[in-house]
Amino acid sequence: MFPVEAILFVMLIITAFAVVRQTNLFAAAMLTGLFSLLSAGLFTLMDAVDVAFTEASVGAGISTILILGTLALTAKEENQQPFRLLPLVVVLITGGALLIGTVDMPAYGDFGAVTNHRIAPDYIAGTASEFEHIPNVVTTVLGSYRGYDTLGETGVIFTASLGVMALLGGRRRRRPADGAPDDSMDDTTGDPADDAAEDSSEDPVTGGPEDAA
């Protein structure tokens, strides 16, 4: 079989080292999104479609945007740190422990693994017999077998989003009050300039890349 996964893994490693070595933080953010796309492709090829979907939407979508939003508030370039031994040792030990932990795991796609013999066949058979109206096994497990668990998770996410909205909504309501002095300052700097800016919304200098695109 053609080693598609191997090539994707090599690209993943190259991207990871590039993210670490890159000092321009914008480029590092872009490479992080690329890393997530690579991981999502790998997950899809390993038939973990739902994990891949989460990886693509969270990793390549929202977290890249969050990193960019952080970049708008912080520096553009990373400060060069002197080489220190202790963090390298900690990282190597942690990575080694994780690698040792994978030794016990069954091989990928192993039909003889314990998890493929104890519970999974029951769920698959139950999906076929008890829940005929739900065609997908994952949906059955999440929505029916573990329905209350999923309900609790949804409640947690709802509470978290309520908290975020309480934090952000308060600031948004205050913003027009902040903007009011700005408006008065805009008026005092000169109305003709403002009118000109509003008339020619497309600056000929800065409009270059949009024309090219």
């Binding site: 690209m11 991207t15 872009m30 690329l34 999502a40 492709g41 479609v49 805009d186 403002d194 890349p209």
Partner: protein, 123 residues
């Protein structure tokens, strides 16, 4: 037949990755990541038509997985929205910007938040 398509997509991915690593300007990197996302979408589509579905007994119950195409469509949407957000960041310097303030910024001069010399320069 699908192997040829896979090889072509992988070559495209390698080239896009090289451009994202080298990329002298900001727009090179953005375009490279966008291109890479498109290549991922195509790879998922092709993989869906390559992968079979087997039962635990090893019996083949489906030759291909055409539902991967639906997922690839959603990937394309995520890719598109992400690139729009990144371009907005590059253009205005922040994501939650005010339109009036952005016009004022354009008037005074384009602020480049990415630390590169001139993103619209040659090359």
């Amino acid at each position: 037949m699908f192997w040829i398509a896979t090889v072509g997509i992988l070559i495209t991915m390698v080239l896009a990755l090289a451009r994202a690593l080298k990329g002298p300007t900001v727009f090179d990197r953005i375009l490279a990541v966008n291109m890479f996302g498109t290549a991922t979408v195509l790879l998922i589509c092709v993989a869906g038509f390559q992968m079979g579905m087997q039962t635990t007994a090893g019996e083949v119950i489906a030759d291909s997985r055409p539902e991967f195409v639906d997922m690839a469509l959603v990937y394309a949407l995520v890719n598109f929205v992400g690139v729009i957000a990144v371009l907005k960041f590059v253009r205005f310097g922040s994501l939650g910007h005010d339109d009036r303030r952005a016009d004022q910024q354009d008037q005074t001069g384009h602020q480049d938040p990415t630390g590169q010399q001139d993103p619209r320069g040659p090359g």
